[in-house]
């Protein structure tokens, strides 16, 4: 098909008129263009958890439960309390508890020797996720913006991913009979909100971060603090970084 110069001018002219009409209309009505403003390629999500700030109130667990309709007895996030006695002779072994995932907080702890602290836990949204690796059908995956999600209409409920997760953050939803887990409140963060747990943490112990955003506080935090991920030897590429984490944390 031969395109003549005349055709180019005709089509080009029409497009120009359409574009200017559209732009004018936009200015008159003030309406947003009907495109989705969120672009996955612009984001790479993670989280920073500061152990020194966590007070074990369980607000995050309650908030997550309400935001995501988490079934009772299962946990997308939870808080653990560690008690490590002074080391005298044997191997340093912590005593850990998480009553009902800390959804109602913890019973108060009387002062003891050694030390004690709280550790919030959630899905680490691993970049090299072992759970994604073992899924037989592609029902769980790492999104282009770094969030590990489950396709509820595609999951078979085989639970291989639950076995493969080193952190225990997955469970089988008793009603949908598919695997469920923390979604990093994907439905919120793609709309410019923060996660329910970060929103409701009263001390700022949990902070949603976007590694691709050059202005995100995560870069300064990682530069100036000693941070760890859970089970680093598993090499999962975990993206939840803990500040002030003790080596005894499992």
């Amino acid at each position: 098909m031969d395109i003549s110069r005349r055709d180019i001018f005709t089509v080009g002219g029409k497009l120009l008129i359409l574009a200017s009409v559209g732009a004018t209309l936009r200015q008159i009505t003030g309406a947003e263009p009907p495109s989705d403003a969120y672009r996955m390629a612009d984001h790479w999500w993670g989280m920073i958890v500061d152990i020194d700030k966590c007070i074990g109130c369980g607000s995050c667990v309650r908030a997550c439960s309400k935001e995501n309709n988490v079934p009772q007895g299962y946990f997308r996030t939870w808080v653990e309390r560690y008690q490590i006695g002074d080391q005298i002779k044997e191997v340093r072994q912590p005593h850990v508890e998480s009553p009902n995932g800390a959804i109602d907080g913890f019973p108060p702890l009387a002062p003891t020797d050694g030390k004690s602290f709280y550790v919030p836990k959630l899905c680490n949204h691993c970049a090299d996720s072992p759970c994604v690796q073992v899924c037989p059908v592609g029902a769980t995956f790492v999104s282009p913006d770094g969030v590990v999600l489950v396709d509820q209409t595609y999951c078979l409920g085989c639970r291989y991913c639950v076995q493969a997760c080193p952190y225990g953050c997955r469970y089988l939803h008793p009603e949908t009979q598919t695997v469920d887990k923390c979604t990093l409140c994907y439905h919120r963060i793609t709309k410019g909100l923060t996660t329910a747990c970060c929103e409701n943490c009263p001390t700022g112990a949990r902070l949603l971060v976007d590694f691709k955003n050059p202005k995100d506080p995560v870069h300064e935090i990682l530069r100036t603090n000693m941070v760890q991920v859970l089970k680093p030897y598993m090499a999962t590429g975990a993206k939840v970084y803990y500040e002030h984490l003790d080596g005894a944390v499992r």
């Binding site: 700030k53 607000s59 509820q152 994907y186 329910a196």
Partner: protein, 154 residues
Amino acid sequence: MLMRRLFRDSAHLIRPALVLIAGMAIFLVVRSAIIPKAFGQYGHYRPGALDLVRQHPIAFAGQETCVMCHDDQATARAAGKHAHVACEACHGPLAQHADDPAAHVPKLPDVADLCRRCHEKDAAKPRNFPQVATAEHSGGAPCNACHQPHNPHL
């Protein structure tokens, strides 16, 4: 002659091969019909799953939304120690209230349980975090008898 005889004696072997090939062909046809559309666009998954997750309804409106109407409470809070405590951390999920304030009137939380969850004295809490043994602290009086929740410091 030998070739023909060889062929005649092994011709039956074609049959299971044909069954196998036919099976594979049927499978491939059925597969192309029922495989989810655009599967594999971003990775080994259904891209529609991303939209499915994003469609989940929002329960917590977020502080910025609350502040749009309740700026007097927001100002009081900003001046005090609870400046960084989200409204919904105490008042519960209120996105429905934000969408239709009259239809969903939030119930004020039970003060005793609420304050205790954060401020009950506990050895595992950071030492500089304000905490009291509530049983001995107020002699049975409710927390908001003395402390204003939005600006609690006395």
